[in-house]
């Protein structure tokens, strides 16, 4: 399964990455929350930025969703801090 990752605001700055295409998601990664946990295994900065202690928001295909939401092939998954517009 292929997915596109997007990172915004303080999350983007901490990781030094705005977007990334993952051509083959590892087996067993089925939900948005799974992607978050998988990314945390990439290293200390990833674990610190995306870890469960962070009040992170997640979106799937441009809609904010809970961690249990299932991925679909070609979907866009975004991670960002709580919003502060207006």
């Amino acid at each position: 399964m292929q997915i596109d990752l997007r990172f915004f605001a303080s999350v983007r700055e901490a990781l030094g990455v705005a977007e990334e295409r993952v051509d083959a998601v590892p087996a067993g990664i089925a939900t948005v929350g799974d992607v978050r946990e998988w990314l945390c295994t990439r290293g200390p900065v990833w674990a610190e930025t995306l870890g469960p202690q962070r009040p992170l928001r997640m979106a799937l295909n441009h809609t904010m969703v809970p961690a249990s939401t299932r991925l679909t092939d070609g979907c866009e998954v975004a991670f960002f801090p709580p919003v502060t517009g207006g």
Binding site: R6, T63, G86
Partner: protein
């Protein structure tokens, strides 16, 4: 209904004129304009950068206005939100709602702003004499949105 996410400034009276043009059913226009302050959390703000999530931003704002339409009798609505570099005194956001009566217009306008503050993907970064910092989300903003669900006053 119109949603605009843009770097350019906007003119309140021109936008209101256009929104209610030729619609003689309109008896009430409620508007909200949010602006950049020069002080936030005790720090002097010299300028601000607003980042957003193109694609999701428009979708989120459309969804918020659609929810308002389900709850109140409104004729039309306009949301303009700026992004990019802004300075103290600059306008950030405009919400305008037309309706037959003020009750619907006031409530829908406030509802749209409260939901925008917690669900539209915008992030503020402030430049202060002590350096740049991302603005933290406020608990009071979440409470303001929740009262529309629970019916309690914030």
């Amino acid at each position: 209904m119109a949603i605009r996410v843009q770097t350019e400034d906007f003119d309140l009276s021109e936008e209101v004129r256009r929104l209610r043009a030729d619609d003689l059913r309109v008896g009430a226009v409620a508007t909200f304009v949010g602006t950049v302050r020069d002080l936030n959390d005790g720090k002097d703000v010299a300028r601000m950068t607003l980042e957003h999530y193109p694609g999701m931003t428009e979708k989120a704002l459309e969804s918020i206005v659609a929810q308002a339409r389900e709850r109140w009798r409104m004729f039309d609505a306009l949301v303009i939100h700026r992004y990019g570099e802004l300075g103290p005194g600059d306008q950030i956001v405009l919400v305008a709602v037309t309706s037959a009566h003020r009750g619907d217009a006031f409530a829908a306008c406030e509802f749209i702003m409260d939901y925008l503050k917690t669900e539209a993907p915008f992030w503020k970064k402030e430049a202060t004499p002590q350096g740049e910092r991302w603005v933290d989300a406020r608990e009071t903003d979440t409470a303001a949105r929740e009262r529309w669900v629970t019916g309690e006053k914030a």
